[in-house]
Subunit: 224 residues, 2 copies
């Protein structure tokens, strides 16, 4: 099947880029999104239930634990698979993780074409931010003193990564979607959460940290 005929046989944009050995996606869009949605729902539900057993946790803290568990596992499993699987588009076994990226590449072909900027950001996200997110779940559960600064650091990292992701696409011509529908559905909508939520968490963590530093400063002045 891997001949010169199949070299152009991919749904990604721009079409003139060759992708020898490409194997089309097997599952339907509904199946791929459905599995991700259900798995995420399971992670969030379990985190919500387990966090309810911890004493003195506010609902907001419990929601934050759900977010960090969801985004951490997404970073480590989905994005981790992509970062270290340069030939996922050749997968013939209908492996779910390969299917996800074959499908998502319709919204941003730089994944299938292995754009260095995308791989660098996804690699950093998977290897550094993913485990840090799970540490944030633990830090909130145990009320650790590094909880806010860790949440701020990860959120700023997510925002930096998303900024590089969108700016590089813009600089390279923003012509990587197979259709406007995929552009808005995958490239814009799927990434929007990773702009909105990290922004909100950054603002909250920043304020909490400033309040703590200010309180410490006032205490020092009083004891002088």
């Amino acid at each position: 099947m891997e001949g010169s005929d199949s070299a152009l046989n991919h749904p990604y944009s721009p079409q003139n880029v060759k992708l020898p050995g490409f194997v089309p996606v097997v599952y339907s869009q509904a199946t791929i999104l459905g599995v991700y949605g259900l798995a995420s729902l399971l992670v969030v539900s379990l985190t919500w239930l387990i966090s309810g057993r911890a004493p003195k946790k506010s609902k907001l803290d419990r929601w934050l634990m759900c977010w960090w568990a969801f985004t951490g596992l997404t970073h480590m499993i989905l994005e981790g698979y992509f970062a270290f699987s340069p030939e996922f588009y050749k997968d013939k076994t209908a492996c779910y993780l390969a299917e996800v990226w074959k499908e998502y590449s319709k919204g941003d072909s730089r994944y299938a074409f292995r754009d260095a900027g995308v791989v660098a950001v996804e690699g950093l996200t998977a290897v550094i931010e993913g485990p840090a997110c799970l540490l944030a779940v633990y830090a909130i559960a145990k009320g650790k003193s590094y909880s806010y600064v860790l949440q701020l650091a990860i959120s700023l990292g997510q925002l930096y990564g998303t900024a590089v992701y969108f700016i590089t696409a813009f600089l390279e011509g923003d012509h990587f979607a197979a259709s406007p529908l995929y552009y808005y559905e995958y490239y814009i909508a799927a990434n929007a959460s990773w702009i909105v939520i990290p922004t909100l968490i950054s603002i909250r963590s920043w304020k909490r940290i400033c309040a703590a530093v200010q309180a410490q400063g006032q205490k020092k002045n009083k004891t002088r």
Copy 2:
């Protein structure tokens, strides 16, 4: 002068990339580095002198103010010029800022060739981190409560940017230096400060923030 003959007439690697309209560097390496060195020395000296007038500033705080003034102006002036001057390599006026990037491109030709990842990182650094660095000078001078969290945020941003910078070069083959000397002198040595110093500042800020949050937590427990 902009003919097919001059298209290959550049010193950058790989040589087969065309750069029509390229105008060679005019100043010597010593002049270009000397001007940057002297300007930096001037900024650091002035910041050191002025910071000495502020009461109760430790020597470390004053050194940090020097660093933030130096790195902030480098981000805004040098990197800001690059980010918004896609045709600097055609400059015929021996403009100093164009000379800097024509020279630095010998260590990393992605600057002359306008690699999207490099432009994205440099743009974010110039527009967001540059002004934030000058705000950090002010924050330390005035003992603002957001001083540590701001220094942490910028330092992590610098580290993230440097990581993307090196990882993308590695993924693209790491063949962008005109010679091993330029590779180590410009690509490695010139960037090393932006790994070492942000790492040290991140660790210090992180520890200070955790100590403040912990002190606040203990105070709350006591007053209960």
